[in-house]
Symmetry: C2
Amino acid sequence: MHTCANGDTIVLVRNSADASPFRSASIKDIARLAKVSHSTVSRALHHSPLVNPETGDKIRRIAEETGYRRSAVARSLVTRRTDTVGVVVTHIADPFAAEVVGGIEDAALERGFSVILANSGGDPDQEVRAVESLEERRVDGIVVTSSRVGALYVPMLARMKVPIVLLNNQHPGDFVHSVMIDNVEASIAVTRHLIEAGHRRIAYIGDRNGHQSDTERFEGYLTALANADLMFDAGLVAQGDGKPTGAPAAVERVMAQPQPPTAIFCYNDMTALGVMREVRARGLKIPDDISVVGFDDIPFAEYVDPPLTTIRQPMHEMGRLAMRTLFGLLAGSDSTQNIKVPGELIVRRSTAAPKETR
Amino acid sequence: MHTCANGDTIVLVRNSADASPFRSASIKDIARLAKVSHSTVSRALHHSPLVNPETGDKIRRIAEETGYRRSAVARSLVTRRTDTVGVVVTHIADPFAAEVVGGIEDAALERGFSVILANSGGDPDQEVRAVESLEERRVDGIVVTSSRVGALYVPMLARMKVPIVLLNNQHPGDFVHSVMIDNVEASIAVTRHLIEAGHRRIAYIGDRNGHQSDTERFEGYLTALANADLMFDAGLVAQGDGKPTGAPAAVERVMAQPQPPTAIFCYNDMTALGVMREVRARGLKIPDDISVVGFDDIPFAEYVDPPLTTIRQPMHEMGRLAMRTLFGLLAGSDSTQNIKVPGELIVRRSTAAPKETR
DNA sequence: CTGAAAGCGCTTACAG
DNA sequence: CTGAAAGCGCTTACAG
């Protein structure tokens, strides 16, 4: 309840017994209290120079005192902007997604944007539904991480919907706007690191889910082997599932070879965690008996024992870059943006020279 | 562009050179194409029984073909609901927050709700700003995790704003609606676990940021000691910062005691990670020389070496419970909901009997 | 079964 | 500097 100097009073009451939507104070309520038109209230709240400073102050004071909150939904209807971006991730609890969203959040906050989260669960259909739901909510832009749909968005875009940028697109083929880690180069770098340490038999444990990033990392692995004139041995390649649980079977397969590997390159850090665990369960010491490398540099990579050698993806920065691209698009840029971000080789103690060479 | 059987045509054009907000198709465009009123279109899109089945089908087909997306913002303005919940977290990249948000997401999706994310950065002022921003966006409800404001929301609520539920409130004192882990009981359980293993000198490494949860966990620790008739030694208590980085100094302090501890109870798993690392750097073996326990059971707790004994917080489930409470409130419930969730002691290999007793 | 009308809470030319 | 008016894209009584 707010009582004015002139005795006017406003009481907002929940309508009836249940908590169904109640009417919150509107610009008109403030107008009545301030004895001005609602147009003037609207201007005052925007600090428009068109309103008398004293009137403006009075209006803002009343708004403050009554706990008035302007309705972003009403505003959006007329401005046709929601100052909102949608982000679709596979699972928010995935450390990669969480870090990326952190970067997106930061960039959004700087511009007064909010972010709406949507899950794809890694499923193409659910991903499309998530994007559609975001479109209904009239977000100003969308970033899709680890998309399984990728280029299929092109026709949607042709219909002139919201701008979309993909972050680490997992669908083969290019998309108009994207920020991607340079998987091939990074993969060459880790593999070369192992080769230079003296390894000749290097296993690759991939991801059976057919991610584009897996294809590219495998490609980098092959390239590095070729560059060093090392033979490729298909027996040293096995598939995991991107999670620790997929590792044991894959380790079993490569270690069963007549000449087992002295190093294992894992598709990602989560796989590496499972690999380290399985390798250790087999009584092997890391890195003395076998070297292990991952990919991503998730926050825990440095806390496992031994700390994991890996490729750092600048996840937070990638989130920001995706937002910068989006803001550029919103500002009218219509150029294609395909940003390729370099990974960084982080050498820790899970890698060393192979036994034989020492 | 959409061309109708009757030759009518609709073309939507971005207005002018820049990508400024363009007009997306509205219910009226569909109405024109279908040669009905926009009221009928609205009904058809809702599958209202009030519309002729054939007319309805025709309308929906046209909507489909033109890629029409109803505007949730316009709908919200009239229905006074946004089918949206706001979630404020300290940092989304925090594993605890990410898991909780995962549970919230799942519960939201089941009811067709979207979630808007907002960061508090652990700062009370920013937390309040985040909540206000969510109110402006007219979310139907808000869940605040690890609130630093807690009971201070009461006056805001008195103004009849959006329902708020706190998840693991970190502000002293109770709030109307909350879901909390039972810190005291859980803390008694881990401490008792150590005592039963034979430990007599148990250190506690807390969190200097003054979280309510730290106070409660410390309380549980004291209670368990007292229950076992063990003397409390202030020299065995040190403060970390909830992150691995805060651990070394704290370990230094407790290990410098004339009689160092044989076990360390850490405020949370992140602290335990740092403790394990520091303890190992000092040449001590875990658990042979010293036992370490954490709190939370973050996803990585089982992958560190040795796997960490800890208290599992059912984070995902807690997120769902918060949503259930919110939905109850939205459905008209006006009862106070203070849900206390039990933690679960997960014994792994970072704890064992102390050396002397073996 | 259908349409005309009012209204949700704002913003913003337009006229004073 | 201020107000009346139109309109953003929907929903929903109300009258046929």
